[in-house]
Amino acid sequence: MTAHAAPAGSLLTATDLRKTYGPTHALDGAGFAIHPGEVVAIMGPSGSGKSTLLHCLAGIVTPDSGTITYAGRDLTAMSDRERSALRRSEFGFVFQFGQLVPELTCVENVALPLRLNGAGRRQAERTALDWMRKLEVDGLKDKRPGEVSGGQGQRVAVARSLVTGPRVVFADEPTGALDSLNGERVMQLLTEAARATNAAVVLVTHETRVAAYSDREIVVRDGRSRDMEHAI
């Protein structure tokens, strides 16, 4: 129930993850696996460990024990520097709020990951604008995040998460601050864009209508995970 053997062809796999914060067992034997191009929702009650699981999978938090394998490489054995490089080049991130840099314009925000990876300004912004067009926010390129709506800002953030051509996008409650209509639009555009580029999406959400955009669902309870595909 808790551990997942590494299925053949999976891109990112975690087995028997454990993580404690003081007396709290945030993860207590959780497992996970995702294939290229797959959208997997992680659900569970507040405090169940779902965000800790996402942070471990993304190499942001190191588990106390257990293994995480990304494209055949052991994430837990990497140095911080190697993990940061991996996050910048292979992973994309979308969070609930506060992820855009307020001083930069929207197109500069979207271009930022490319600039951090060493791309020139003109080339980075051209690629950024292509992604903003796909997310239907290219008209906002010169606006600052404070001047756009929540739904628009979140679409700018999705464009930024995809701009480097990541193989995995981690989305932590990406619609948490949006109304139904804007939330649905963000999910539709995110999943369509990810599928078109064969990127995998790890989606943490507490909304089942948002989870219905996924291919598969993992439920985390008390730090243990259950693959709901095998619940029936």
């Binding site: 089942t208 209508r209 989870a211 219905a212 619940a231 029936i232």
Partner: protein, 179 residues
């Protein structure tokens, strides 16, 4: 809609799994746990028991002397236990008002020592499967499709919230049903 007639047989059968009972005891146990607004008629208990007897799911363990209409003491058979297990493990078709059937199943799973969590998870997976189908249809459809699918999705979401809340209260419910 919740089909009361269809699940009464299974409900009585599962109650028998907790121990042999007379027809009258069965009715009382049913009314106590599930018949708050609609107590079961005696006639329905006896007709259900004779059907279950005919199908080999229960057997008569003894008959007590007396003049009552039914002094038979019923016990569940191995085939009956298998039937209860299969019924509890089978997810309900996601549709409105299924929570009373689900509530009955959850209570019976707790009473018979089966995993109520597994039962809720199976139902959750079945709901989400339908929600995915509706979401795909919505994505590919026109505005009318979107509105029709959204209506169904909001109802399914309400069911799922109930399932989550019930899952979070299983320990408390287990204590109450065993009281």
């Amino acid at each position: 809609m919740y089909s009361r007639a269809m699940s009464i047989g299974h409900t009585l059968l599962a109650l028998l799994e907790t121990g042999p009972r007379h027809g009258y005891d069965l009715k009382r146990a049913f009314d106590d746990k599930f018949g708050h607004d609609r107590p079961l008629a005696y006639g329905q208990v006896y007709s259900t028991m004779s059907r279950l007897l005919k199908n080999g799911l229960v057997e008569v363990e003894g008959i007590e002397p007396g003049d009552g209409p039914d002094r038979k003491r019923y016990a569940i058979t191995d085939a009956g236990i298998t039937d209860v297990a299969a019924w509890l493990a089978q997810p309900e078709k996601p549709e409105p008002y299924l929570q009373s059937t689900l509530y009955t199943k959850v209570v019976l799973a707790l009473l018979t020592g089966r995993s109520a969590q597994d039962l809720l998870d199976t139902q959750r997976a079945e709901h989400l499967r339908l929600m995915r189908i509706l979401t795909t249809r919505k994505r590919k459809g026109d505005l009318a499709d979107q509105l029709v699918c959204d209506h169904a999705l909001f109802h399914l979401e309400a069911d799922l919230r109930w399932l989550e809340l019930t899952a979070a209260r299983l320990d408390q419910l287990a204590q109450e049903v065993r009281r």
